[in-house]
Amino acid sequence: MWYALVDCNNFYASCEKVCNPALWKRPVVVLSNNDGNVIARCALAKALGIAMGAPFHQCKEIIARHNVAVFSSNYALYGDMSRRVMETLATCAPYVEVYSIDEAFLLCDIPLAEATDYALQVKRRVMQWTGIPVSISMGATKTLAKLANHIAKKRTENGVFILAGDSYCQSLLETIDIAEIWGIGSRYARMLRQHDICNVWQLIHADDSFIKKTMTVVGLRTVYELRGIPCIQWEDAPPPKKAIVSSRSFGSPVTEHAQLKEAAAHYSAIAASKLRRQQGATGAVTVFVSTNPFKDEPQYSSSATVVLDMHSAYTPDIIAAAHTALCSIYRQGYRYKKVGIMLTDIVPSQELSPTLFTCMINYEKRYRLMQALDSVNRQHGRGTVYFASEGVVRPWSMRRRYLSPRYTTHWDEIPIVT
C-alpha cells in the first residue's frame, strides 16, 4: 500500500484560468477578501517576483507593467472546482481523503515499479477532466507522501515524485531540512537543531527515547512515519465541524447599529445554511465585533454568546439570538471593521428529542421552509432568497472589485463560446 498526496498547483489561480483561455499565457494573481493581499499566483506571476501575501497596493506598479490579470477571490468557483478534482480522484483510487480545498490523500494498492506511471495517469486525468494541474507525491506513509510533495514541487519537471525504493536514501534525505516535515513546528525544529539533528536522515536515526522525552509520543509517531511505519489514521470523511464561523471584514467601516444588525443577520443566515448542510443543530450563538486595529482611531472589540433554549437549525432562531447578542455589545461612536457569527455546541439534528415545551412548535413546517430555502439557494445561487433583516443594499459588504464570473455555479455566468 502507498499513500499518494495530490496537491493542486496554485489552485485559485489555476481555477481562474480553466474557463478563460485568454489568461493561459498571462500572469494571474488572486486577492484575499476585501482585495487586500495576494493569496495565489500562477507560475508566470511567481516568476515576476510577486510575493505570496504581498499587499495589493504595493504590487500595482509591477501588475500594470507586466499586464498581470488580477482577481478577487471567487469561492463559489474554487469550491466547485475543488469538488470536481476530488470526484475525479475518487475514480482513480479506492480511498480518497480530502485534506483541504486543494489537497487529498489517496491510498493505492500498486507495485512500486508502477507507481510513477500511475501518478502520471492520475495527473493527466485530473488535467483533462477539470483543467487543474496537480503535483503528486507518494510514500509508505502520509508523512513521507507529504515530504515527497516538497520535492515534487521544487525539484522535478513533471511534478511527480515517489519517495520509496531507491529514492528513499541517505543522499536525498540528508538534503531535506527538518522544517519541511509535516508536524514538526518551528519550536521543535529549533530544539532538534540544538541537538545536531538538522535533516530528515538524522531525525530518522535519532534515538526513540530522546524523541519521546523531548517531543512526546506525537513526535515519536512522526519519526515512525518517516521510517515508513504508518501511524496516522485514515479519515474517510472529515468529522462534522464542532463550530461554524461566518465572518468577513467590511468594505468600508460601519458605525450604525442598524447596518451591523443587517450584517449579523446575513452571516447568521450563511452559518445556519452551513449548519443544515452538515445536518446539525446549534445550542449557542456567539457574535463578535471589532474595529480596525491597524487604524489610529478609538479601538473596541467584544463578543457575546446567547445560549438557545433548545438546539436549532432554524435561521430565524439564529438571527434572533445574534441580534440579542449584538445589542448587548454594540457601543456607539466606533468605526467597526468586522462582525462575525460563531455557532457552537453543534449536535446532529436527528439526535434531538422533543420535550414538553417544544411539542408546541410545528417542526415539520419549519423544516420544510428551511429545505425550500436551501434548495432554491443551491439551485439558483447563494442569496437568491434571503431574510429581509439581512438588508437589501448592504452598504457594508466587502470589496470584491475584480470578481470573475461564477463559471460553473450560475446559469447567467457560464462561459460563452463562439
Binding site: 493561459w24 470536481r84 470526484e87 415539520e364 439551485q379 457560464i414 463560446v417
Partner: protein, 139 residues
C-alpha cells in the same frame, strides 16, 4: 418524427422531508415499488466531475447549434473525427467540428459562411472538451 414524452423534475430528489424519522410497525409492502422521478441530470451527464455548461454566441454551427443554446460539454471524452468540440483558439472558446484527414486536423464550422481553421503547430489551439448535448428552449 416520433415524440417521446419524458416526465422529469428539475430538482433532484433529496433526503426525506421529516426532521425525526419514526420507525414503528411493519414496512409498507408498497415500499419496494416506489419509483423515483426522473432526474434530467442523470440522463444528460455521464461524468459529473468533468462536465461543464457553456452558452453559444453566434451562428457558426447553424443549423444544428444556434445562438443562445446551452451546450453540455464532457471533458472526459476523447474527441474523434466528426466530434463537435469546444476549442480554445487565440484565447477564446469556440465550438466547431473536429475533422481529421490524411493525418492533419481542422476545426470546421457547420455554417459555410465560416472558414475552417487548419490545426498547424503555428495555430494557438487547444481542445477543451467534447459537446455531448444541445439544450434549446423552444417555448
Amino acid at each position: 418524427m416520433p415524440i417521446q414524452l419524458i416526465v422529469y423534475q428539475l430538482l433532484p430528489l433529496k433526503a426525506p422531508l421529516y426532521l425525526m424519522a419514526i420507525k414503528a410497525g411493519f414496512p409498507s409492502p408498497a415500499d419496494d415499488y416506489v419509483e423515483k422521478t426522473l432526474d434530467l441530470h442523470e440522463h444528460l451527464i455521464r461524468h459529473p466531475a468533468a462536465t461543464f455548461f457553456v452558452r453559444v454566441s453566434g451562428d457558426s454551427m447553424a443549423p444544428l447549434i444556434t445562438h443562445g443554446d446551452i451546450l453540455v460539454v464532457d471533458r472526459a471524452l476523447t474527441p474523434h473525427s466528426g466530434s463537435i468540440v469546444i476549442a480554445a483558439v487565440n484565447g477564446e472558446l469556440t465550438v466547431k467540428r473536429l475533422m481529421e484527414q490524411h493525418g492533419s486536423s481542422m476545426l470546421v464550422a457547420d455554417n459555410d459562411a465560416y472558414q475552417p481553421i487548419a490545426l498547424t503547430p503555428e495555430v494557438d489551439c487547444t481542445l477543451w472538451g467534447v459537446v455531448v448535448h444541445v439544450i434549446r428552449t423552444v417555448a
